[in-house]
């Protein structure tokens, strides 16, 4: 047996051949990999972050039982008069409408947190479970902190917490259903209006509807209620809570920054692969001529170059996923960002990232492969 295996030649497969070509210029292959890895890594981290962020917002609404969010028609910096609350509350299908403000505020130079202003009797407080202390009271400089934030700031009930120049007393620490709440401060609506100069204004009204009439679908019911609210209070926009999570200005901003940045990073990665493959085809002109002389068809040459480019894309995809995921883990552990970053990445997002990596390889390899296939065998063989 041993004697036979000595005589046996090593197998050469198509992919094995492509791999050998990539290994030939290791530094160049490595640098190309770094480029596409950065692109995919940015996509995984940034788009993953923005989607997780949206998901957390959605959970925030659903965990508190909010059906509809009423905001000002204009999208940016939405602010409504607090006085329209009773009008919304008077709409027949509305069970309760509570005003709220949310804002992102620097608590310390290192920690910024989402700050909510709610009324002490808001139904949304019922979805939180107090771990220690008590709820805040309206009209008092008091606040409750999410567990993660309290841990980061090392605050307990009874401690003082300065926010925008006002000393607040931490009255309780709560456990919230989402990462957003876990890292948030909740204070009386009137106090947040005061420190953010929004007297008489709110960001939105969160609406809980009356129990659905029997036989009506939830979506239809919500749509009808939205129309009723918009008719009762001109100039407002009523969004289903789920849509509101996606349309939330912070989420929209996160989405556009994430897609914008990762698209640029991906383009740079694709150009890197394209450059490498173009150089490689140029350097291997004679070898391509040899392959053609041996009877390789143009499509075999295209397949070889695309296999090499796709292998680069795929390897960059796996490395990029590892890099992006690591970045999310680090961000979710840092106090500055823990409140808005979740370390979880949806399997679909990973599959999408790999698909983008493969497509990136194919796109980048397309032109060099086409050029290689068009080389005349005789001209290519003569190439010095």
């Amino acid at each position: 047996m041993r004697k036979t295996s000595n005589v046996m030649a090593r197998h050469l497969s198509f992919t094995g051949f492509a791999w050998k070509n990539l290994r030939r210029r290791r530094l160049r292959t490595l640098l190309t990999l770094v480029g596409i890895t950065m692109g995919i890594g940015a996509f995984v981290a940034l788009v993953g972050f923005s989607r997780a962020f949206e998901h957390e917002w959605m959970r925030l609404y659903t965990s508190s039982g909010t059906d509809i969010a009423v905001v000002e028609t204009s999208f940016i910096n939405t602010s409504l008069d607090e006085s329209v609350g009773p009008k919304i509350g008077a709409v027949p299908d509305v069970a309760i409408a509570v005003p709220m403000i949310f804002n992102l505020i620097d608590l310390t130079p290192d920690v910024n947190a989402l700050v909510y202003g709610w009324r002490a009797d808001s139904y949304e407080l019922d979805s939180l479970s107090l771990l220690s202390g008590r709820r805040f009271r309206d009209g008092q400089p008091e606040a409750i902190l999410g567990k993660n934030l309290a841990d980061d700031l090392k605050k307990r009930p009874g401690d003082s917490l300065p926010i925008q120049g006002t000393n607040f007393t931490v009255t309780g620490v709560f456990h919230g259903g989402t990462a957003l709440e876990e890292g948030a401060v909740i204070m009386p609506l009137d106090q947040l209006q005061m420190i953010s100069s929004m007297q008489g204004k709110v960001t939105a009204f969160h609406v809980r509807l009356r129990p659905m009439p029997a036989g009506e679908a939830y979506d239809r019911y919500v749509k009808r209620a939205e129309a009723e609210i918009e008719a009762a209070v001109p100039g407002v926009h009523a969004d289903p809570a789920a849509d509101r999570a996606a349309n939330n200005q912070l989420v929209a901003l996160a989405h556009s920054v994430a897609w914008g940045t990762s698209t640029i990073a991906l383009l740079i990665g694709i150009l890197g692969i394209a450059n490498t493959m173009a150089m490689s085809v140029f350097e291997r002109t004679r070898e391509i001529g040899i392959l053609r002389a041996l009877g390789w068809k143009g499509r075999h040459v295209i397949l070889l170059i695309l296999t090499e480019a796709t292998a680069l894309g795929l390897a960059g995809g796996f490395l990029g996923i590892a890099m992006g995921w690591t970045a999310l883990l680090v961000l979710s552990a840092m106090p500055q960002t823990a409140s808005i970053v979740s370390a979880s990445v949806a399997p679909l997002h990973l599959a999408e990232s790999l698909l983008i990596a493969i497509v990136a390889g194919l796109v980048a390899g397309a032109y060099p492969a086409w050029r290689a296939a068009r080389l005349s065998p005789v001209e290519a063989l003569r190439y010095e």
């Binding site: 090593r10 050469l12 051949f17 040899i290 009877g295 390789w296 068809k297 143009g298 075999h300 063989l381």
Partner: protein
Amino acid sequence: MSSPLLEARGLVKSYDDGRIAALRGVDVRIDAGEYVAISGPSGSGKSTLLHMLGGLDLPTRGEVLFRGSPLGSAVDLDTYRSRQVGFIFQAFYLLPTLCAAENVQVAMLAINGRANHRAERAAALLEEMGLKDRMRHYPNELSAGERQRVAIARALANDPAILLADEPTGNLDTANTAHIMEILRGIREQRGMTLVIVTHENEIASSAPRHIRIRDGRIEA
């Protein structure tokens, strides 16, 4: 009369918009199993003729027929090169990233087949070339004579009907030249292949049963 294996009819090949004429009307008939040497001075057009016969390039005018069918129209050039022709070049043209065995297998990659079969056939051919112990050596680890023997094994990989050798001994010393020529003649005798050798060495040309002299793109005799 049955059609020859290869036939060139009125081959003209010109470059640079007709300013350079490499072939000026060549007619050649080569029968199956023939051993033909083509010789001529540098620039006479002998390599160009070989490229046309091997389907590496198409003539400007005229045609090459393989078993009566014109190359490039009735016969697909890539398929013709991969299945019917084995090329051997002066500069060997081995791929530097592949070992000897892989260089032979690369010719078979163009034809679908089992990987095991490819590896076994490469091993058998290299063994036949006396390179049993050099299969895993890369071209830069082989002598010139060994490289040319790997190239011959590669040319035989797909069991072609025709071997076309362009100055196969041009880069070899006397001993290796004799060895390579012995191998080529042996292949032709044992396998009944058609062998066409382009050479500028009179000794090689005159040893062939048929000798075609070419000068200025035309056949002399």
